[in-house]
Symmetry: C2
Subunit: 139 residues, 2 copies
């Protein structure tokens, strides 16, 4: 929560839609949508699969309708390898080339192939997000 | 968070996908997806508009691809008037009649036109969800 607030202090940009990369970006997108009072909050899905020739490949689906959007913030909880974010951006740019895209995440690994426009913390080890642990943890 | 955990204790049903009604259901869907270790977590969008003849109408868009799904849990933070949930279910049932749908929310107003299959609390007054207040509140 504190991290999400810190992210809003860094994002100096006006956008008319937010796209969460599911599942990881969904809570952050929800929070940001409430914070910016923006109802155009969407989700995009990806599936990673092994490509025997190269490394991991990512398939993108459930792409939201963005004909009226001009500037879109794509969010995820963490940019890890960067593969997912790269594929999502490539897909969106191909389908909606008229839109300007920027990206935001809570965490970012320096080893990733792409850096988000804004992020809060560099991540070295794996992070336990509250949405991953809280329901399963304490009873 | 506690409420979401309580919801998981009530949901005695296996489903193969979760659909969040945006924005309200997104954090809950994210949490449930993590809890049930289910990657098929999607979002559906709605816009409410005034219909001069009747009361409020709801337009549904960004409907996820559900061809392979058999049982889908539709979630929202609150079932208030019930208009949104009714329209979302009607849309999904028309487009994907082969799927069984059940619904879950954290809060439910008894005055709503439809009750979710599972909910945690009855809501009489307006509720401040943590995702609505936390970022704007304390600095």
């Amino acid at each position: 929560m504190k991290d999400a607030r810190e992210l809003t202090e860094k994002i100096g940009w006006e956008f008319d839609a937010i796209i969460a990369i599911a599942r990881g970006g969904m809570s952050l997108a929800h929070l940001l949508g409430e914070y910016y009072d923006l109802r155009s909050v969407y989700t995009i899905n990806t599936i990673g699969y092994d490509d025997t020739r190269k490394c991991d490949r990512v398939q993108v689906f459930n792409v939201p309708q963005l004909d009226d959007a001009k500037s879109v913030l794509v969010v995820d909880d963490i940019v890890d390898s960067g593969d997912t974010l790269i594929e999502v951006l490539a897909y969106l740019q191909a389908k909606y080339p008229h839109i300007e895209y920027k990206t935001a995440s809570l965490f970012y690994k320096k080893s990733a192939k792409i850096a988000p426009t804004w992020y809060v913390k560099e991540a070295d080890a794996w992070i336990d997000f509250f949405w991953s642990v809280d329901l399963k943890g304490k009873k």
